[in-house]
Amino acid sequence: MTSASTQVNAPTPSVPGELKVIQDATCTFCGCVCDDIELTVKDNHITEAKRACVLGKAWFLNHSVEDRPSCLIEGKPATLSEGYDRAAQILTSGKYPIIYGLSDSPCEAQRVAVSIADWISGTIDTTTSVCHGPSGMAFQGVGEVTCSLGEVANRGDMIIFWGSNPAESHPRHFTKYSLMPKGMFLPNGRKDRTCVIVDVRRTKSAKAADIFIQIKPKRDFEALWTLRALAKGIELDPELVHRETGVEFSVWTDLMERMKACKFGVIFFGMGLTMTRGKHANSEALLALTRDMNAFTRFVAKPNRGHGNVTGADNVVSWRTGYPFGVNHSRGYPRFNPGEYTTSDTLANGEADCAMMIACDPMANFSQPAREHLSTIPLIALDTKETPTTRAATVAFTVATYGINTGGTVYRMDDVPIPLRPAFPSPHPSDYDVLTAIEERVKRILGVTG
């Protein structure tokens, strides 16, 4: 099955020395997916990225054409065709193949990756499992009351950040969506909003807060349940609350009064919740609190998703398999079980016997036991740049950069799909190209004709 969408917006090569300007380009570095960037391109290099933040500038200005072979097999340059053959052979000979990553690929490529996992009875997982995977599990428990980012800009008069540091992780979050915009119902912008930041350390974001609440590390769950109790009018022991959360009881009662009094409250939460003791229980407490608040006023919550298209990965894997991440096809149909089919586990438990890593770097970002196992099994890696994972790979593909060299679709953290407008062509194949070629070979080997 081919996707028509990847053929659109193919970049035109630069004429030597000439400047080309791309309007409304989309930055895919973080989950903000800002689509208002103006790129200046000269000699297949982006020289300026107007409106991009510091992370966006680094993203656009540093992705020029990589002077590396498009394919390396066991560290030696090889043709793409040899690479595809080897990759297909690896994936079809494993008993427990895993495919992981995908959060820095467009949806068109993600769809092919899920197809491959399906044909090879493999496991497909995305970086969601080590990011907001626990929030996804919490969502399955209690649901979620949420909104698109434009709603926050137009209506949000109380903005809470919990365990999230957008000043460093999503630098345009405040100005573009959450604090500064003059919205339809907030004509004075920042003056019409109250900003609360809850964190265990005084992050760079704390400066933006009207109220900064520093809680004890690993006490998010207790703090959130304190608020749930206060919302319901349940009596609490002030000293106990202070001791458990590290914050005076009066701070919490004051916060709850403000939460009830606002018109449209928003809680953005980060990996301060999901990566800490409690994990999905923390996210669930926050989602439940948000839900509770709708008995008094309007309140929504939203995880501040990290990578450019991690939200697209959740969507693609869900529409194709019915589950958002950590999906195993070993019985021929999808099954979901976080903690079992998620990549940290399939690797650390020594179960996976071959792997394809797409736009991710587990050799640098996973636990030591996971890395140790990964280094013992055949590994295929796709990345735009050299990483510890591509260095360790049996077959490594250098791929074009999405949104800079190739088109496609990316989902912003609020599930809004946005098209890409690439700036200049790359001599390297896109991850869509690589995955499609591997899929063709996998299907041939397995006799799949669908």
Binding site: N62, S129, P217, K218, K279, G339, S367, Q368
Partner: protein, 128 residues
């Protein structure tokens, strides 16, 4: 000195920019190899900027890393911060407690001095 701390890895601007510039470039490597310690903890423990310490996790996993003083008030006492990356991830254990997510923030670690910055600089000086 062998005291228990809570380690919080997280994203930083330098780490984020470094990913785009290249993971083997200095900016990225410097960003992910600097452990921030609260100035009051440093004073109390007699540590100074650039000292090399060893962190040991609950399953005995260890990393060695140089320390830097956290900016004013950014860290309360007892907390350590490091930019998310290779070093921080080595402190995670393989167990995800059935969630798919290893505990990657709020890890209990012990910190001990390996080498003073002054000695470190001398060694380097000798080597050059």
């Amino acid at each position: 000195m062998n005291e228990t701390f809570t380690l919080i890895p997280g994203r930083t601007t330098d780490q984020g920019c470094g990913v785009s510039e290249g993971k083997f470039n200095d900016r990225y490597q410097n960003a992910i190899n600097a452990l921030q310690v609260a100035p009051s903890d440093m004073t109390r423990l007699g540590l100074s900027e650039g000292d090399r310490v060893r962190l040991t996790g609950e399953e005995g996993q260890t990393v060695e890393v140089c320390i830097t003083a956290a900016k004013k008030e950014e860290l309360p006492e007892g907390l350590l911060f490091i930019a998310y990356g290779n070093i921080s991830s080595q402190m995670m254990t393989g167990d995800t407690h059935g969630s798919g997510m290893p505990t990657s923030k709020g890890m209990e670690v012990t910190m001990e001095l390996v080498q003073k910055a002054s000695a470190h600089a001398n060694v380097e000086g000798t080597a050059s």
